[in-house]
């Protein structure tokens, strides 16, 4: 195996394992959050608003919600961080690769935890006022769709691919790793905020929705940066890969040279 392939495995395998473990924890939580930081539906009948609010918080302690959100983050986002972890490791002294990676993760995580607070606040509001309705989820889905196909989304996606320079020594190296994480977190959140909010607001089926969003996020990540424009965006590369691999499997493109067509009229 080449050194490059070895290094890829060194990063990819633990990250994918971590993501898989997080999924398992999220899905195998019986009677708990059912997959994510979702406020328990309540039969709250004719209770006044204040009482309902207190009941919601009692059933869903903020600490548990935060932990659940963090698990969701690790499950869904860890794989897309692989290229950036590789970049950090390559650009850092061997002795501080783990430290720089941790700082990157901390910066990235901090942004997403802040986003999580907002998302959970919205979720709380929806549970208080429209808990069995699909309307809020539908509304966010519409918003997410418009955002998905917009040029602004492309701008954010493009920035997610950036691998910028990092100072090598001392506190500057710490700062750059942290800043890299924060910047990446900001562009990542700008790309995906609507997609992360949508599954939360569904009265039912949030696990399926979460899985679908995870597939979409990964598929988007496979696309190269491109000029911002309105276009269908997201599952293109994944679809093309599937088709191409199927073709190869069926022997349509073999290694034996196909003769060139007559190029000349």
């Amino acid at each position: 195996m080449t050194g490059d392939a070895q290094e890829l495995a060194r990063v990819r395998n633990p990250v994918l394992l971590l993501s898989a473990a997080a999924w398992i924890l999220l899905l195998a939580n019986p009677g708990g959050m059912v997959g994510h930081a979702h406020f328990h539906a309540m039969r709250s009948g004719g209770l006044p608003l204040g009482a309902r609010f207190r009941m919601l918080l009692a059933m869903n302690p903020p600490a548990a919600l935060a932990a659940s959100w963090l698990l969701m983050l690790v499950a869904m986002m860890a794989p897309v961080l692989i290229p950036h972890v590789r970049h950090i490791r390559r650009r850092s002294f061997r002795r501080r690769r783990a430290r720089s990676t941790a700082l990157f993760a901390a910066g990235y995580g901090a942004i997403w935890m802040a986003v999580g607070a907002v998302v959970l606040a919205i979720d709380l509001a929806v549970k208080l006022f429209a808990q069995q309705s699909y309307l809020p989820a539908a509304g966010v889905l519409l918003l997410a769709s418009v955002w998905q196909f917009s040029p602004s989304k492309q701008r954010c996606l493009n920035r997610c691919h950036a691998n910028t320079e990092l100072a090598a020594f001392g506190p500057a190296a710490d700062f750059d790793a942290l800043r890299f994480g924060v910047r990446h977190g900001l562009w990542c959140a700008a790309s995906c905020w609507a997609l992360m909010l949508f599954p939360m607001l569904l009265p039912r089926g949030h696990v399926v929705a979460m899985a679908a969003v995870a597939v979409l996020i990964l598929s988007e990540r496979l696309e190269r940066p491109m000029p911002p424009a309105w276009r269908w965006r997201g599952l293109g590369t994944l679809t093309r890969i599937a088709i191409a691999q199927a073709r190869i499997g069926m022997g349509a493109r073999t290694r034996a040279a196909r003769s060139l067509p007559a190029l000349n009229a």
């Binding site: 650009r91 910028t164 090598a168 020594f169 293109g236 890969i241 191409a244 290694r255 067509p261 009229a265």
Partner: protein, 518 residues
């Protein structure tokens, strides 16, 4: 037996007495009469390489010196644009096979035009062998004449072609342009005889613009582009050949790439092999990315893959002569000898051409971005003592079974707006010294072809810019032999071939030193 033979453009003194050049000029003229959205037009082909059709200032196609008179309308439909345009592969292992197909398609179009004008159906694209004897390092005179023999305008002449001294004298300076890459062992990857990322380029997906160029792409390819294009007097703009988004507008582009293609053929002919990885053979389309596609006469779409391009025997043309590739000294043996381990040098296994790229590790770096202005810039690269010690120890104890570390200088995240520069990179150049007096301190020379679009935030690598990797193992060997490696820093000096224009921006994100070893 191949149908077509590509010949030397300097035959018949490189003038229009060379029938291939005269017919080329007529074919270019015919293609230039077609519209921008015509799949067989000169402009469409140039845009397939790269374009700035919509840009509102230089190098926007509407803001280029004439001739030629470059159109920006009528633009093709979005689907045609997305299918064909901005396709060229750079900083990638697809660089060579993509360009081979591109040349084939252009050649077919020119040939069809030539035949319709009464010319020979055997016409083939000539090559410019700038390494050839005598005056061949100069651009063939047919490209600088303003008229054809019959007095009409010469399509091979372009206004925006300034040369290495920015004065219209077009030639290739040799050195620093060289054929060192021909002694590489590996198409992709690195070993003692092959600096990274390999002769042909790094393993990538679809790569219209990337980070690190392959060795042939770096030198001579990028340097020839930059030296031929040059910078305009005044410094505000640069020549067509300097930037991938306008380079294929200059007809010399295809003769340059013909020679690059010929060098690839010669490298294979000397026994070096192309990748067998299916990801390379089947091209990026097999990974769900864009396909390689060209319009051929009749406006049909020709989709091709590297496995169809990986040998001259598959493409029905040949070259009238391939450069002989002299067997090069094994670099590991040379280093061991220099380091005083002659017995070990003799025991080095010549046949080994396996990638050796384990344990790449940062040794040191400078602090802060380095702007390149005026006549050059310098920076101090601080070295980590513990890692540097590993390098010294490996040099001291080097043998054929415990090879010495290889050391590399990286220019990371080079960004800017002025492609037309060649940078000479020196280690520990004494203050005030003339760089030309110290070839032993030269790490390498790099051309900034592709700089502008690699720096765009909405570009293919999110504005990360270009990266360069220069092998400096022998410079470190010399430092070691002088007991000068017990140091905490190195001076790196970057010398542009011409003064950087005031309006231009070029910065190096970070200058660093890496080791590759046990």
């Amino acid at each position: 037996m191949a149908t077509y033979t590509r010949t030397n453009a300097w035959n018949n003194s490189g003038t229009f007495a060379n029938a291939d050049l005269l017919w080329y000029a007529k074919g270019v003229g015919a293609m230039q009469k077609r519209a921008l959205d015509d799949l067989s037009s000169w402009w469409f082909f140039a845009a397939m390489h790269g374009e700035y059709v919509k840009d509102t200032a230089f190098p926007g196609w509407g803001h280029l010196p004439q001739p030629p008179s470059t159109p920006t309308t009528p633009q093709p439909s979005t689907s045609v644009w997305n299918k064909y345009w901005d396709q060229c592969q750079h900083q990638s292992w697809y660089f060579l096979p993509w360009h081979r197909g591109y040349l084939l398609a252009l050649e077919a179009q020119i040939r069809a035009a030539v035949v319709s004008l009464g010319g020979p159906s055997s016409w083939a694209l000539p090559y410019w062998d700038y390494f050839g004897p005598g005056t061949q390092y100069q651009i063939p005179p047919a490209f600088t004449a303003t008229t054809l023999p019959d007095g009409s305008h010469n399509p091979l002449y372009v206004d925006a072609r300034y040369g290495p001294q920015n004065n219209g004298n077009i030639y290739i300076p040799i050195p620093p342009v060289n054929q060192d890459c021909m002694s590489n062992d590996l198409f992709t990857g690195t070993n003692h005889n092959t600096p990274p990322p390999g002769f042909g380029g790094p393993k990538t997906g679809f790569s219209h613009s990337g980070n690190t160029s392959g060795n042939l792409e770096n030198n001579p390819h990028n340097l020839v582009h930059v030296y031929v294009g040059g910078t305009a007097p005044g410094g505000a703009t640069y020549g067509l050949m300097s930037d991938p988004g306008i380079a294929a507008l200059d007809p010399i582009f295809y003769l340059h790439h013909c020679n690059i293609d010929r060098m690839w053929a010669a490298w294979n002919n000397s026994g070096k092999t192309n990748p067998t990885d299916t990801k390379w053979l089947n091209g990026p389309a097999s990974q769900g990315q864009r396909e390689f596609v060209m319009p051929i006469p009749g406006n049909n779409a020709w989709v091709y893959t590297p496995d169809q391009m990986d040998s001259l025997s598959k493409v029905d043309y040949t070259y009238d002569s391939l450069p002989a590739v002299a067997p090069a000294a094994n670099q590991l043996s040379q280093r061991l000898t220099q380091l005083g381990a002659s017995a070990a040098a003799a025991r080095v296994n010549e046949g080994a051409s396996v990638a050796q790229d384990q344990n790449e590790e940062l040794v040191g770096a400078n602090a802060g971005a380095l702007p390149i202005k005026g006549t050059g810039a310098g920076t101090t690269v601080r070295l980590a003592a513990d890692v540097l010690h590993k390098v010294s120890a490996s040099l001291a104890g080097a043998s054929e079974t415990a090879p010495p570390d290889r050391v590399f200088l990286h220019l990371e995240n080079v960004r800017g707006t002025h492609d037309a520069l060649a940078l000479g990179v020196y280690i520990n150049l004494p203050a005030g010294a003339n760089p030309n007096d110290h070839p032993e301190l030269l790490a390498g020379t790099v051309g900034l072809f592709g700089l502008r679009r690699a720096s765009r935030k909405d570009g293919e690598h999110s504005g990360d810019g270009l990266s360069f990797v220069l092998e400096v193992s022998k410079i470190f060997d010399a430092l070691h032999l002088r007991n000068a490696l017990d140091t905490d820093s190195l001076q790196v000096t970057i010398v542009p071939h011409q003064a950087v224009p005031d309006t231009a921006e070029v910065t190096v994100g970070r200058v660093s030193i890496y080791r590759l070893g046990q």
